[in-house]
Amino acid sequence: MSLSSLEELIRILSKLPGLGPRSARRAVLYLLKDKHRNFFPLLENLNQVASTIKTCGICGNIDITDPCNICSSTSRDNTILCVVEDVADLWALERSGSYRGLYHVLGGTLSALDARGPEEIRLPYLLDRCQKANPPLDEIILALNATVDGQTTAHYIASSLQKREIDIKISRPSIGLPLGGEYDYMDDGTIMSAFQARQKFNA
């Protein structure tokens, strides 16, 4: 390995999220210290993942099979569909274990500034999917980020569903206090949202 290829490796690693040039150098040195235990298994895994990973043609998740494990699972509730912005959000919901339905990954939000229209976020496909679902969908959860872009996109999807007269319950996760949160440290917006979405307290 020439010095320039080593530098190139450091440069590529330094572009990864969470890493800078300094931490990339440390990572490379660590990998090279024991090549058989660290470097080669990593290389093998990277190769394998790069050659086998696929984007699910149904939901947009990434997996080694198409359809993905979630779409092909028979144990999941296929009458509920959760719409998320990207794969990271899908994984976050899966980690929580709180949802056992199907997903639809948009791959972004509507944004005129970034030239992302309904086609770019696969909205026509989502509408078709909702219309032709078998068994029919009972509920669609719009789990988009609590940002202006996220919520505008959610409203756009909801109004598109209504326009197509697709009769499904449309819901969204509530917005409010996080677990372990203290009022003193919350911003005004979060407190206001939490109060507006307050629920009956069961004693």
Binding site: A112, G117, T152, H155
Partner: protein, 248 residues
């Protein structure tokens, strides 16, 4: 150089993992861009579109992407999240300002109109009045940038009453009678744009939006940027009557 001003966030873009590049509409400096650095201790989730407050900008040269610090004082978002039509109006307006306004050029009067829209118009419960205010603001935007509509008197007769149409070629008004032979080629001019005491319907608001849309598209959006106008139209169309009636 550095300065302090007041302003509102128009657009935000993620930069690296925790930082943001913001477009902000300020009172004395117009639309400016700057980097807001975030950290684990200082997440930037409150830096959302429409959030307003004190702006501190610092850079070596005026043309540089400066470092921004914002002390949020006004945040309408929690309230807007419950009102889809208002949220899309805010998004449409801020996107348009980001797209159209040149950087580092002050538009003080437009800034105050924008601020009034956020503070006074968006909280309105009557959606037709809100729609009127929105159209007025878009007309103001056209005026400010040198593409104003001449709708005070008829271009054909010089009369100031009964104005009903606008020529898509000249942006000048025509009365109901004078414009009648050409009405299929003219844009409808709603009463609320010319009379203070006019009582409007949803149809008037829609006509107003069609009017401003036409001239915004004509003057600011090239073929490449059609997606913007397409999105904007779809967003405006989503303000359907059911939503309006539900909210009003």
């Amino acid at each position: 150089m550095e300065w302090e001003d007041k302003g509102y966030i128009l657009a935000q873009k993620t930069f690296s993992e925790r930082s943001l590049i913001l477009d902000v509409f300020t009172e004395k400096h117009g639309r400016i861009r700057g980097l807001v650095k975030g950290s684990k201790q200082k997440p930037l989730h409150s830096m959302q579109i429409g959030v307003g407050g004190s702006i501190y900008w610092k850079a070596r040269l005026e043309t540089h992407l400066g470092n921004l610090t914002i002390e949020p004082q006004i945040n309408l978002l929690p309230f807007l999240f419950l009102h889809p039509s208002k949220l899309v109006l805010l998004k449409s307006l801020t996107t348009m300002l980001t797209f159209i306004l040149p950087e580092n050029h002050a538009y003080v009067s437009l800034f105050y109109d924008f601020e009034n829209f956020l503070k006074d118009s968006l909280p309105k419960t009557n959606m037709i009045l809100l729609g009127e205010d929105y159209v007025h603001l878009e007309k103001k935007l056209l005026d400010t940038l040198g593409f104003g509509l001449d709708i005070n008197r008829c271009a054909l007769t010089g009369r100031q009453e009964n104005l009903a149409y606008v020529s898509p070629k000249t942006g000048r008004a025509a009365t109901l009678e004078a414009g009648a032979p050409y009405k299929d080629n003219l844009l409808k001019l709603p009463d609320f744009l010319t009379k203070k005491e006019a009582s409007s319907t949803f149809e008037d608001v829609r006509n107003g939006l069609t009017l401003t849309s036409y001239f915004l598209e004509k003057h600011f959006f090239s073929e490449k940027q059609k997606i913007f106008i397409h999105l904007r139209k779809s967003i405006i169309q989503s303000l359907n009557l059911e939503i309006l009636l539900h909210l009003s």
